[in-house]
């Protein structure tokens, strides 16, 4: 119960405080026009709090509470007086007096280890450089501001460096009084020298301040959490050693990473040419080209190349390319190829399945239910999804019943294919389906519907192969025991067997992201103007033609958006490999590699270098996004 109370109080405090600060600052600037003295006093007090608060946080002042309270009083008083005084000489006097008072306060409360020993050379250099820079800045900013005020500020900064920061801190109490009083006087004079703002100017301040107030929190958090850390990480990537004593090492981290066989190795590359996958890809591609050439010659849309980009030829080529990708990524191994493989298969499957569901569900019965259920995994955490799919993939010992869906089915198929009765029944059923499909193919041939023809023939091929396996050598999770000659169950170790365990983990990601792709495609399909579709139909286009020639070109930009979003999401995949294998069994990915190196081995240099590789991976996506936004916003 205590913990509930503490949690609730924490939540309310965090939210309330942030809200109060924002509203408070806005209210403060509301005062500028009508109650300027109050505004001025508050600003003076706030600056005193900030300066003394920072010194307090750095443990540079003794008795911080008393000093801060007095500083607030002086700041508020000086601010109020400046807010009611218009005559320039008096303003200057008030500013300088207030600043000097604050400086003396600082001098009296500064801890002894901060007492500077005054050095005339440093002071002269500091003042010259400070005022010089202020003058240059004044010119660079278009000579808009008050020159004297700027020069005084520049002198104050120069004094701070020359008299305090650049010297040895072993001075006397008198020296710190002088240093702090001069600093305070310079700043105070700079403030006091500024002209008294008239009504118009105050109105301008009220308006102009809003953009800063509105943007400041966002820009602060974005720079603190993204921009500055990004720079520091790039810098850390060139360093090595333990986190306390890092030293420069140039590109060594990167060359270490890229020569690590765990990160990328081509050993298996020659093995690719003896893999079934590769040759299946080649066959598909060759058939695809042949079909394209053949339809192109018999009058398809050749585009003058004699090659027809029809559903048939394109899907064969795409299938070939996909299989080729899998052949490559199962033979070239390591963390980087793994990440590329993740991107490759998640994009292929999530985009095609998402598009398929969006098209199939569009205007069909129960569209909303179907879409909700496909979309549902989007709400589930990667951790939850990993646990869920571990249950699906689990492999029990051969003698036990399988409790995972996949292995249970796989072992059951194995049993069927080893029983004459069962395999006959399966073969008969498959045979009937094949006959039906052949009939469909024949009708499609007559109706000159190439898509249906190609699709049904492809399914017939797969089913025919299944019939062969059932009747012939057998299929499924079984093996013949070498000892007894018995047939025993042989479950697949989905999570342990490399390299395909990677793919089984990608399935989890695909399961989640298909819903994302579907939702976006669905919205895009619904946004296709109906007039276009109707016009196409009136012109006699079939449903398939309408889809490929009208809908797909219309939603093409959306496909780009989905693909870029997916690339960014997949590239940083971390939770699934972390929970399912923790990078073991050849399943390492960059994000987990980075985490392991940085936070387990405490090698910040290499960890940062891996993070930089991830960043380089998203650069093309960032470029595309920026170009898209430029087009949309700047015209």
């Amino acid at each position: 119960m205590d913990r509930v109370v503490v949690t609730v109080v924490g939540i309310v405090a965090a939210v309330g405080l942030s809200g109060l600060v924002f509203v408070g600052i806005n209210k403060l600037y509301d005062l500028t026009e009508k109650r300027y003295p109050l505004f001025s006093a508050t600003v003076g007090a706030l600056w005193s709090v900030i300066v003394f608060g920072v010194l307090w946080g750095n443990r540079l002042i003794a008795s911080p509470v008393v000093a801060t309270l007095i500083a607030v009083a002086i700041g508020a008083a000086a601010g109020y007086l400046l807010g009611v005084t218009e005559a320039p000489p008096r303003r200057l006097a008030i500013g300088a007096a207030g600043g000097t008072a604050l400086g003396l306060l600082l001098g009296s409360s500064a801890r002894s280890q901060t007492w500077p020993s005054l050095d005339p050379i440093g002071i002269v250099i500091g003042l010259v450089v400070g005022t010089g820079l202020a003058y240059l800045l004044w010119i660079a900013r278009g000579r808009k501001h008050n020159l004297v005020s700027r020069l005084l500020l520049g002198a104050a900064v120069g004094w701070l460096f020359g008299a305090w920061l650049a010297v040895d801190l072993d001075g006397s109490k008198a020296e710190v009084f002088v240093t702090a009083a001069v600093l305070g006087a310079l700043v105070g004079a700079a403030v006091g020298y500024s002209p008294y703002p008239d009504g118009v100017r105050r109105g301008e301040i009220a308006v102009a301040s809003r953009k800063y107030i509105f943007l400041a929190p966002a820009l602060f958090f974005v720079s603190a959490a993204l921009v500055i850390p990004l720079g520091r990480t790039i810098w850390l990537g060139f360093l090595t050693g333990n986190p306390r004593e890092l030293r420069w090492t140039g590109l060594t981290n990167y060359s270490d990473i890229l020569s690590d066989p765990g990160i990328i190795n081509f050993d298996g590359f020659s093995g690719m040419f003896s893999s079934k996958l590769f040759w299946l890809a080649v066959v598909l591609a060759v058939v695809g080209i042949a079909v394209g050439r053949w339809t192109g010659r018999t009058g398809g849309t050749g585009l003058g190349t004699g090659f027809a980009f029809t559903t048939g030829s394109l899907s064969l080529l795409a299938g070939g390319a996909a299989l080729l990708g899998f052949a490559i990524f199962t033979s070239i191994r390591g963390t980087i190829p793994n990440n590329l493989w993740w991107i490759f298969s998640v994009i292929i499957f999530a985009v095609s399945l998402g598009l398929a569901v969006a098209v199939l569900a569009d205007r069909s019965k129960g569209e909303n239910i179907a879409k909700s259920l496909i979309f549902l995994p989007m709400a589930i955490s990667f951790v939850g999804a990993s646990v869920i799919w571990r249950l699906i993939y689990v492999a029990r010992p051969p003698q036990d019943p399988q409790t995972g869906v996949f292995n249970s089915l796989w072992v059951m198929i194995g049993e069927w294919s080893n029983s004459t009765a069962a395999s006959t029944v399966v073969a008969l059923i498959l045979g009937l389906i094949i006959v039906a499909l052949l009939y469909l193919a024949w009708r499609a041939w007559q109706a000159e519907s190439n898509t249906v023809l190609a699709g049904s023939l492809a399914v017939v091929l797969v089913l025919g192969w299944l019939v062969y396996r059932f009747v012939g050598p057998g299929i499924g999770g079984f093996k013949v025991s070498e000892v007894t000659g018995e047939i025993i169950a042989d479950p697949v170790l989905f999570i342990q067997n490399a390299p395909w365990n990677n793919f089984w983990m990608m399935v989890v990601f695909i399961w989640i992201q298909t819903g994302f792709a579907m939702v976006i495609f669905s919205a895009a399909i619904k946004a296709v103007p109906t007039e276009l579709l109707e016009a196409a139909r009136i012109d006699g286009a079939t449903e398939t033609q309408t889809f490929w020639r009208v809908t797909v070109p219309q939603i093409f930009p959306t496909i780009g958006v989905v693909v870029t979003t997916l690339i960014v999401t997949v590239l940083k995949v971390f939770d699934i490999p972390k929970v399912m294998t923790n990078g073991n069994f050849d399943t390492q990915v960059l994000a987990n590699e980075m985490w392991e190196r940085a936070f387990t081995q405490l090698d910040f240099g290499v960890g940062s270098a891996v993070a930089v590789l991830l960043f380089v991976g998203v650069l093309p996506v960032m470029y595309i996004n920026v170009r898209r936004m430029q087009r949309e916003r700047l015209g």
Partner: protein, 324 residues
């Protein structure tokens, strides 16, 4: 009676007269395969979640002995024993405590970025200033930056503060003192806030910039300043997009694993539920049966949010992705 008969007759007749030949019917059936495919896909997509739900109500022995489809043959199904064991700290994993932490993280890390992003989105949309376009594009471009690039510097800021060593004079100034934030929930709040902003600003800006210009003009003629316009007009009008982003961010922070793991690390008191479940998953053994209940507990909150507010969620995802 007669009316029903009258209505029924023509349909029966037409069915008989329009009865198509066998071949046509098979063809028609095969043409309906796409619909079948859709529903098969839907079932496949639902099975994993469903199996988790069923298994979480089965005892340890039953979970090990047979698949979830045998649940209804079990004795004593359904049982709440797993939930009992996983939620309460004395017996099990202490997920109850972790759920509180998850709530604390998710609620604050949802509200604060929304507020900050709303101010910024308003400024980018309706306050004119130099370099506005570039600042906006630069901010939003950061939404592609992977979290990983920030983890090391952020963690060291939280645990050691930020010290700047000045060149030439070789003095170190502590810009941000050692706040000892690592291992605490505020560290996670701050990190989530920073990472959420580019997307939040993008989403909110798209909506706020699309509000009709006339309302701003008439409001400023009436003497309202930016703060009043924002507070009285923009916030109430933007409720749909604020809700969309809130759901998004809530799910993202509730489901987050990486940031909490990095920033909270070894502080068991402050760990959110995802980490507790993930560490259960890492045990492989005695408490494996608790995993189903644990995973379902951390899933049920986002699912409830999702089903209750699906409309907003979908709007949030599609906004900005589809033109128009």
């Amino acid at each position: 009676m007669t009316t029903t008969a009258d209505r029924a007759t023509p349909t029966t007749e037409s069915r008989i007269t329009q009865r198509r030949p066998l071949g046509k019917r098979i063809y028609g059936f095969l043409r309906s395969i796409p619909t079948w495919l859709l529903w098969i896909l839907v079932i496949i997509w639902t099975i994993p979640t469903f199996s988790l739900l069923v298994n979480s109500f089965r005892t340890r022995d039953e979970q090990r002995a047979s698949g979830f489809w045998n649940a209804f043959r079990d004795e004593g199904f359904p049982t709440l024993a797993n939930y009992d064991e996983v939620l309460f700290p004395d017996v099990g994993a202490g997920l109850g405590n972790a759920l509180l932490n998850s709530a604390a993280i998710a609620i604050v890390a949802t509200i604060i970025p929304i507020a900050i992003a709303a101010f910024a989105a308003y400024a980018f949309a309706w306050i004119d200033f130099k370099g506005r376009e570039w600042l906006f594009i630069g901010t939003v471009a950061l939404l592609a930056v992977p979290t990983q690039v920030s983890l090391i510097p952020l963690l060291s800021t939280y645990s050691n503060g930020v010290a700047l060593t000045l060149p030439i004079i070789d003095k170190t100034i502590q810009l941000i003192p050692d706040l000892d934030l690592s291992g605490s929930i505020p560290a996670v709040w701050l990190t989530h806030t920073g990472f959420a902003l580019p997307f939040a600003i993008f989403l909110l800006h798209n909506y706020i910039a699309g509000l009709p210009k006339s309302i701003f003009e008439s409001a400023s003629i009436d003497g309202a300043d930016h703060f009043k316009i924002f507070w009285r007009l923009v916030l109430p009008l933007s409720v749909p997009v604020l809700a969309a982003f809130a759901i998004f961010q809530f799910l993202w922070t509730w489901n987050d694993y990486l940031i909490a793991l990095t920033m909270i690390g070894g502080n068991r008191e402050a760990l959110p539920a995802t980490i507790v479940v993930a560490s259960l998953a890492g045990e492989f053994g005695a408490r494996e049966h608790l995993l189903t209940a644990g995973a379902f507990v951390i899933t049920v909150v986002p699912l409830a949010v999702f089903f209750a507010l699906q409309r907003f969620f979908v709007r949030g995802i599609t906004a900005g992705s589809v033109k128009g």
